[in-house]
Amino acid sequence: MFNSQKNVFWQALLLTIFIFSIGILLGFSLENWRTSQISSLYQQSELELLDIKIQSEIYLSYDIDCNTAISENINFADRIYNEAKVLQKYEDSNRLTDSITLQHKKYDLLRTQFWLNSIKIKEKCNASYQNIVYLYDYNNPSLEIKAKQQVFSNLLGEIKYDKKDEIMLIPIAGDNNLSSVNLLMEKYNIKQENLPIVLIDEKIKIYDLETKEQIEKFLQ
């Protein structure tokens, strides 16, 4: 067919496969590194939650001042809220692997546990903070739902920034097929097709976007 230089086709192919494979390997390494970062953050959070839970048990069993429990709870809420943002960023930037999705599920369970613990502490210690649970559509949101969730997320972020320790902001994926989350959703009469939803103090449900002022009114 061609003259003596036809082997250029194969040489270029081999070189491309070699360089491309290195790129893909580096990509996998980067994404695995991100997953391990999340994993290590998760382990720390898991330990901390366990500690908080034990503390709660102690406060619930013995009649002692629970200011420390409230403060620990608030700190932990802030921590997992920030970790949720990191997790979201890494998830959005992972293209080759989906190992981080599993981490997301684990975090959802952790946040659910924390939510339950938060309810308990609030009842036992008569704490003044308010629980804001944000249940969102994680797996297949339409473009419209995605945009709505993005605005909900910004809005709640602004409220959290203003209210600081007065609120516990707990974002949880409502469609990750986790029995505990499903049970709680059932308990509060929340259906998956209605996601996203903001649940304030396990009583007030906000389905549609409201202004910051209106949500703050609900908080009062």
Partner: protein
């Protein structure tokens, strides 16, 4: 991995492959890129220059003077006046008093290919040099090209087509484009992959032109078609990189787009005509046609993905804006500015840098660098990012026009004048 990521990675793989392909060709042949064989015997071939002209009063005089000042003796130069309505014929007649080997062939307007065919009929030279009426070959260009015909298998020889005027932004972008095309065409020559002998200056064996029946009147890029036809008959095409011809590139965007649409339609016509050779017989069937077909496929898929994403983002932005206004919250949070790069971003950056280096390197090899100052750097980046992405869009327009003409049974014209 989602399907979009797979598409992106596939495109990146192909782009990387093409870069390495040209890089290897360059490394292997770098010492002989500028070489050209000397003709076995001085002035062994007689040459007829054919210049078809239609309303070329602004450029024809300089074209004739440039062609006839060739260091290689020109037996005759025939200007085929394709029914011009301006002073083209008058100018040629005036110059005929000055140049004894200049001839005028007046005829009714019938297109470039037919004009060339009529010129071939009366041409006496063994080699036919086609010179467009708005192109200016350097004095030594033909002399440098003739030696390639020592090889009897060579049917045609092309050269570096460069931009004559370099004043407007569009012209400067085309300076880069033409130089890169010339450089890559030379490299493709090493695998018998030259797919065009552009009109500004190309040399053909007359007997080969007669053997293939001349230029195809039904193809609007007769220079691509004739090349494919010659290759299909088993002849070789060579590229003489140091031989240069300067051509007038479109100054206005509308002319530029019309010209590119014409090129694309011509390419599609060629694929259609030679589709039976796909993956068969020699470089045409095994490289050129698949190369064209894959380029078109990739271009169309690329445009499809581009529009899919653009529409998707538009819809998302619409919803996002509506909801943001409804909630009275800020459009952009500080955290949105922090970007976490994906592996595709890294690949994209690496490819962009490699592509840029390839462009700079080819421009430097062609001595068309002119990288002094911020403006040229801007031109280079604009060329790499914006200019090249226009190609697939023009392809879509060309396909649309072709279908439209087919339905309306209209003949496709040049559209540049």
């Amino acid at each position: 991995m989602n399907s979009l990521s797979i598409i992106y990675l596939s495109y990146m793989f192909i782009a990387l492959y093409m870069l390495f392909f040209f890089l290897i060709l360059f490394v292997r042949n770098r010492k002989e890129l500028l070489n050209y064989p000397v003709a076995e015997k001085d002035y062994s071939y007689s040459i007829s220059v054919l210049t078809p002209a239609y309303n070329e009063e602004d450029s024809i005089e300089d074209t004739i003077k440039a062609a006839l000042s060739s260091e290689y003796p020109i037996k005759e130069m025939i200007v085929i006046d394709d029914g011009s309505k301006d002073k083209t014929a008058e100018i040629v007649k005036r110059l005929m008093k000055q140049y004894s080997n200049l001839k005028l062939l007046p005829k009714e307007n019938s297109g470039k290919a037919d004009s060339l065919n009529q010129g071939i009929k009366i041409a006496k030279g063994e080699l036919i040099a086609v010179v467009d009426s708005d192109s200016y070959p350097e004095k030594d260009s033909i002399k440098k090209m003739v030696g390639f015909f020592n090889d009897l298998k060579v049917g045609a020889v092309t050269c570096s087509v460069l931009v004559k005027h370099r004043n407007t932004f569009l012209e400067k972008l085309q300076v880069m484009e033409y130089a890169i095309i010339a450089w890559t065409r030379k490299l493709l020559g090493y695998i018998d992959g030259i797919w065009a002998t552009p009109g500004p200056l190309a040399l053909y064996r007359k007997n080969v032109l007669l053997e293939v029946g001349g230029f195809d009147r039904n193809n609007i890029t007769e220079d691509i078609e004739i090349t494919w036809h010659i290759i299909s008959r088993g002849y070789k095409i060579e590229m003489c990189l140091p031989a240069r011809v300067y051509s007038i590139a479109p100054k206005k965007l509308s002319y530029f787009i019309k010209q590119r649409i014409r090129w694309d339609i011509g390419g599609l016509q060629c694929i259609n005509k030679y589709k039976s050779l796909f993956l068969k017989r020699g470089a045409l069937g095994l490289f050129i046609i698949p190369f064209f077909a894959i380029s078109i496929f990739l271009g169309l898929v690329g445009v499809g993905v581009f529009f899919y994403l653009a529409i998707r983002n538009l819809i998302s932005s619409f919803f996002y804006t509506n909801y943001t206004l409804e909630a009275g919250t800020s459009f952009l949070a500080l955290e949105d500015l922090a970007i976490t790069p994906t592996i595709l971003n890294f690949f994209g950056i690496v490819l962009f840098i490699l592509g840029l280096l390839f462009t700079i390197f080819s421009l430097m090899s062609m001595k068309e660098g002119q990288f002094k100052g911020f403006r040229n750097v801007f031109n280079l980046i604009f060329y790499s990012i914006v200019y090249l992405t226009i190609y697939p869009l023009i392809l879509v327009i060309a396909i649309g026009k072709m279908i439209k003409y087919k339905i309306q049974h209209k003949k496709i014209g040049w559209g540049t004048k």
